[in-house]
Symmetry: C2
Subunit: 581 residues, 2 copies
């Protein structure tokens, strides 16, 4: 059973606490066939491990009788700052391992993913670097007792999984490719092995469990301060496939959650998407700036905003950098962007909501037409989608192996889909489900309407990415610029992925007289806190026409990969019930 809060287990734990991870877990397909296969494989592995452990125990018993002095005693144990490795050992990393290394003495720092005895004279370990890069290591007792003794083999074979070790080894080509590891063409013949940092005897969540799709997200809501009472346990020697853990277990075992290949792949995709956003905008003349998080007034009516004591006053957390983006434009910038946290104090406990998330924002001067902004927003998202597919092909495949999803369909270049809001509603009325036969052009869409429209557009235009433009005046805030040729609609738009909004934007009113009039029309007092400061910006000096948009990075990542929750796309999801870790 779990001992989650115990001190780290003593290093020389006699047997591996956790059975070798079911290898099927990383393939992770949830189809029945795959699950069956994985279960069979896991059972076979578990049986093998049992036999190995029995053999190891027997061998150890006999070994201790015949061998008194350990000639290899300086080649294994706990690493200290005095531990020495061969001066000519080459430091390697698994991604760049090649034929040049074969026969060479190398040094590798890695996690023990799995360790098992094979008789009394041999142990196998899987050594893992970042991501799912792992290599097989073999440690075989030397007939003369050095450099590897039977004691050393036994010790290596029983290192707790997820301990961090340093090994010295010779690179060799295995007789047959190693199927269990990502490095299949090489293996390491270990001559030294030191534990640098030990894992506990019993992990709160095994790597195999961490790599499975998350079973349940609703338990995130349980307010657990320490998070140690509800661990999902995978007991040693289990003969069925590793069961999936809940989101709560993942968050309570954040270290193992993050060591899973699937979470590292998601993190890599997220970082690259962010970089693609940044590099595209920079190459299109946008300058990065940093809006503040701490603000003096709650804009947009003050709903859903975090407030806090601030010396003798009160401060709020920004829900959007829009005010500050507009100040940048008023302040003489042509095009700006920002990447940073935004906050919503919304008590929504759903897989779509978080209280803190990352906004990718941009704002730009409009020369002739507000669609110039739309061109950039559509352009940067297409740039992200087209490039991520190549840059992160392996990572996307890995995520799909755990969370299966349909390919994210993109429009052909030049065939991007932009419908007006009214056209979208017409499509829903004419071709959508029965309940949407009467939707109006003057009322905002509901989430079910959006999803239904997404499905219609996918069928009709073969794309999961599209724009709805010209939202009705009634569905947009006071700062949205009306279409001068049709004041019932605005020069404002949303961008969608798989029927879900991921970006909202539009042209802003840049004339303070027009702005104040619109504020009054919306029933707001132009002198109210937050509003007054906003309007004043446009009175300070002449501000050109401008527009922008804000993209939710967490949602882009989550919906692109069709993850079951946006929380999986975040590094540290913040929800009303949870701030830990």
């Amino acid at each position: 059973m779990a001992e989650p809060s115990a001190n780290p287990a003593p290093l020389q734990a006699e047997t591996p606490a956790v059975a070798p991870a079911a290898e099927g877990a990383e393939d992770g397909s949830t189809s029945k066939k795959a699950a069956k296969k994985a279960a069979a494989k896991a059972a076979k592995e578990a049986a093998k491990a049992r036999h190995a452990a029995e053999r190891a125990a027997a061998a150890a018993a006999s070994g201790s009788a015949t061998q008194t002095e350990d000639l290899a005693k300086d080649n294994y144990g706990q690493e200290t700052h005095e531990t020495k490795f061969s001066a000519d050992a080459i430091e390697i990393n698994l991604k760049t391992l090649g034929d040049d290394h074969v026969g060479k003495t190398v040094e590798l720092r890695a996690w023990i993913q799995n360790a098992r005895m094979q008789g009394a004279k041999m142990a196998f370990v899987e050594l893992r670097e970042e991501g799912n890069w792992a290599i097989q290591g073999v440690v075989t007792a030397s007939p003369e007792g050095a450099p590897v003794s039977r004691q050393m083999v036994k010790w290596v074979g029983s290192i707790n999984p997820e301990s961090f070790v340093v090994v010295e080894a010779t690179v060799a080509k295995p007789l047959v490719p190693v199927k269990a590891c990502r490095v299949t063409n090489y293996e390491l013949h270990i001559t030294k092995c030191f534990v640098h940092a030990a894992a506990p005897t019993m992990l709160g969540m095994t790597l195999a469990a961490a790599n499975r799709p998350i079973a349940n997200f609703s338990d995130e809501e349980v307010p657990v301060e320490q998070g140690v009472e509800k661990l999902s346990i995978v007991s040693a020697g289990e003969t069925t496939a590793t069961p999936a853990a809940t989101m709560l277990t993942h968050l309570d075992n954040i270290v193992m959650h993050k060591r899973s290949a699937v979470q590292q792949a998601i993190a890599d995709i997220r970082a690259e998407m962010k970089e693609l956003y940044r590099s595209y905008l920079r190459s299109h003349g946008f300058k990065e700036f940093e809006p503040p998080c701490l603000i003096a007034a709650a804009s947009e009516g003050g709903a859903n905003v975090f407030r806090m004591p601030y010396f003798e006053k009160e401060a709020f957390l920004a829900q959007s950098p829009q005010f500050y983006k507009q100040i940048e434009i008023a302040g003489g910038r042509k095009r700006v962007f920002s990447i940073g946290p935004v906050f919503r104090a919304e008590n929504s406990n759903t897989p779509r909501h978080m209280t803190e998330f990352t906004g990718l924002d941009m704002e730009m001067e409009i020369k002739k037409d507000y669609r110039e902004v739309l061109d950039v927003l559509e352009g940067v998202l297409l740039h992200i989608f087209r490039n991520i597919k190549e840059r992160c092909a392996d990572e996307i495949a890995l995520v799909r192996s755990v969370y299966p999803s349909d390919e994210f369909l993109l429009p052909e270049p030049g065939k991007e889909v932009r419908l007006t809001f009214a056209e979208g509603q017409k499509l829903l009325r004419e071709e959508g489900p029965e309940e949407f036969r009467n939707v109006s052009d003057d009322e905002d869409m509901s989430t079910p309407q959006e999803k239904a429209l997404g499905a219609l557009i996918r069928k009709k235009y073969n794309t999961d990415f599209y724009v709805l433009d010209k939202f009705p005046e009634s569905a947009r805030p006071f700062y949205a610029k009306e279409d001068p040729t049709n004041r019932k609609v605005t020069n404002a738009y949303d961008l969608f992925m798989r029927g879900q909004e991921i970006c909202s934007g539009g042209q802003r009113i840049n004339d303070p007289v027009e702005l104040e009039a619109r504020i009054r029309t919306k029933g707001i007092d132009p002198a109210s806190p937050g509003i007054k400061e906003y309007v004043d910006i446009f009175k300070q000096a002449g501000v050109p026409a401008h527009g922008g948009g804000g993209i939710g990075l967490d949602r882009v990542v989550a919906w692109y990969l069709n993850l079951p929750s946006v929380h999986l796309a975040a590094f540290y999801p913040r929800t009303p019930k949870r701030l830990l870790p």
Copy 2:
């Protein structure tokens, strides 16, 4: 006098409200000679403008008598969505204007920086794009009254400075280079001019004032909610050089503050420094991640931390992403970095402090020696300093013209300066000022000691950038790893610019047993909130040796340029007394 809250002035204001900006302001040298020269120039300009205005008034009076129909009436006025420009007009931007454009009809969207009449038939305007890119525009009445009439000339010559206009013009080579504008080799012969967004008759702060060094930072502390009562006024026709404004005036006139060339240059330098940080770390195998701002427990004792109600609980704002950087390493990442806001609820009203600033953080696995981390931190800062000099040579020169500073001295490659803390103290004792003759190796340095040491190092090693390593155990927090060969000191360091700390870092303890022991030694309960969650991370699985550091971006920008306040380096400085704008 100021009319800061008035509605935008009517477009056809009869005379320019503000005198042409003293041209000397942009050279901005504060030397006596330069100031005198600027004053003389300004006086001359003001006289010229007065004469021009008189001539214009006279011309207008006579013009209205002789000319009834305005044949140019469609070529100027307020822009509407129906305003038309020639179909063959080429959109230009001033940076890329070249000989190919000469004789062509072009269209430019820009701010009127300055407008003045030259007799009744001619007006000069300065048209400015982003930064300090400006070009001279000339509008001359056509003998036949079209395309330019006398009325049009008068109208253009009286546009309020900082209005945004759209002009159609022919590019020409001036007879003599235009000294007042950055574009000296071309001018625009204007045939159409429309005001897109008007500035008020009286600006809260003129561009010339905004471009002067800030006179006083202490008034930032005055708590002004609306910020409109205390404007610094530059009256029209002033015959002395534009007076400098206070920081309060700048913040209250954020639009004009940001339009100043010096603030745009600082913003450009900041953005490029950030990009250099990011690209260097990415190219060295670091992965970007996003730590949360909202956290559940106040680490480091809870002092100086913002706290707020969070649904039924309490939340805090992160003072540093260190905990989360370490989770990333524990979670299987080799090298990570983050760029984001950090918060300090410190009631310090000095030019060195802010309550929100941007942290450039990094954390990495250590293979052999903690100095691997120092190599990266030193490397990335040198990369920034060496490259910014070339990338932003113009911007740096511009900032220096307003805020003069000595060149930032860098060590020659291979001659980087790393002293131990003890060596630093020895230098202070032996060569420093009298009062530092008895400084101890076991006590942390004071700010005056740091500055004195910075001066000694500059003299001795010819560098403004250096490292102090091996800080005493007593001067570092519980998580700092002791030097295993000398437990009186830690594997922790600070990096300095001009005698001021800009980065703090070190190796962290990665063994939970050692960590708990050190926490107790420091008199802290390992079970206290924030501490327990921290220690638990290292119990979840084996965590490799690691270290990192945090760089304050605002300070790097400010000290590199030797700005009088770090607030000038921030986009929106947050101080205990000020959250606006």
